[in-house]
Amino acid sequence: MLAKRIIPCLDVRDGRVVKGTRFINLKDAGDPVERASFYNKEGADEIVFLDITASVEGRRAILDVIRKTAEVVFIPLTVGGGIDNTDFMQELLQCGADKISLNTAALKNPSLIRSGADRFGSQCIVTAVDACRLKDQPADKPRWEVYSHGGRQPTGRDVLEWVMEAEQLGAGEILLTSMDADGTQDGYDIELLAAVTTSVNIPVIASGGAGKLEHLYEALTRGGAHAVLAASILHYGTFSITEIKKYLSSKGLPVRPIAGKDDYDLREEF
């Protein structure tokens, strides 16, 4: 059975992991390759690097991060942040990225999703969507608006329409962040998740709001998500991936067992 994925998200700025609150008060949180390697040993199913660099030098730094991580970590790597052309995608993929996450650039130019999927396959193109619940909607008919530029600019687009368009254009996965829930640790926006997972036929990764183990379970069951992305609860050590997987497994969800580095002796019989 397909396992539910637990995905740590690392914000990378100029080649260092940073953590903060809503893009401000950024503090250094270490070396991205070391963090990725740590989460890999803990049993992460995938790693997402979100490049929040503004400078050109920083852009080169993310290539270096991917290259070094790919030397030591043999699980899928996804990169997002400021990617607006297929040549840069190609560079990232050649450095060892497996998937490209598109957000603002795809909103400006939706055909970027198609050109990425045509060149590298749908499995390679993730569309990241930052969703904000619209006020004054009837309780039984909630609606969400898509925001661009790291959640700073409203686009006027309806979330459900945009995710369906992204799927049509060839996106292979949706990374869905609830801006209302993000950082609150009060739980994912389950209504939003359920609305999106029933609108598209591609895997959806839930993001924003995780604070308790129950929240992850809810996102993966009632929300219909295929995977959960987590940053704060992992970086701050609230829960380890081991604890998360043990909990989900005890609730009957399929997870990939945690693999230690000594699980398979590669030198055996050689």
């Binding site: 994925r5 050649q94 060892g96």
Partner: protein, 209 residues
């Protein structure tokens, strides 16, 4: 020591396969030179992207003959993902683009698309169960999770070619075998310790032959 070539079929995950193979103790070389492929002792044939595009690329690079020759000569051969699908007669993916493009026709059967009631692509970690003992899965328990990402799966004409199966709404063939030719739908290079062990096992198959 037999020379192991990772065939450069123009896809992006070459380096991942190279690095994972090295970490698993193999000593591969990346090449798209037909002479080097003729001379290879063993081959890894990766592929991501679309069926038609990949066939076009290996045609242009004049790799079809050397690849078929290696398989006819019974050299250890590992096709990964699309690199396995290309060994079949064809793919439903070709019908999408309205061009009928043949595969290498080394194994009878074709690649078919997952039904529409399932989320496609099939992305993530899923269990691979070998249907019989094969050295590729030596040292593994038979229920390991491997990383998949694909929209099409292979349907061999003969059960004889089925090496492993996986459940995703239906039971599909996740590894195939025909003499020294092995194909896997999942990505061992992205499957953590289990994937490295599988690549190490392929190294042992090469050494033992």
């Amino acid at each position: 020591m037999k020379k192991l070539i990772i065939v450069d079929s123009g896809c992006a995950n070459l380096n991942s396969i190279y690095k994972a193979s090295r970490a698993a103790g193999l000593n591969p070389f990346i090449s798209d030179d037909s002479r080097e492929i003729y001379d290879a002792g063993a081959i890894i044939f990766p592929g991501v992207g679309s069926f038609d595009h990949a066939i076009e690329v290996i045609k242009q690079k004049e790799l079809i003959e050397p690849l078929c020759k290696a398989i006819k000569d019974d050299k250890p051969f590992l096709g990964i993902c699309l690199g396995m699908q290309l060994l079949f007669s064809g793919s439903e993916e070709s019908l999408v683009s309205n061009i009928k493009i043949k595969g290498l026709e080394l194994i009878a059967g074709k690649a078919v698309r997952f039904p529409n009631n399932l989320p496609v692509p099939h992305v993530g970690w899923n269990q691979v169960e070998p249907v019989y003992n094969h050295p590729l899965f030596a040292g593994l328990t038979g229920s390991e999770y491997f990383y998949f990402t694909h929209s099409y799966y292979v349907s061999p004409a003969s059960d004889y070619n089925v090496l492993a199966k996986t459940e995703y709404g239906l039971t599909f063939t996740s590894a195939v075998v025909k003499d020294s030719l092995i194909g896997v739908q999942f990505h061992p290079e992205k499957s953590g310790p289990a994937g490295l062990r599988l690549l190490a096992n392929f190294g042992k198959i090469i050494a033992d032959q």
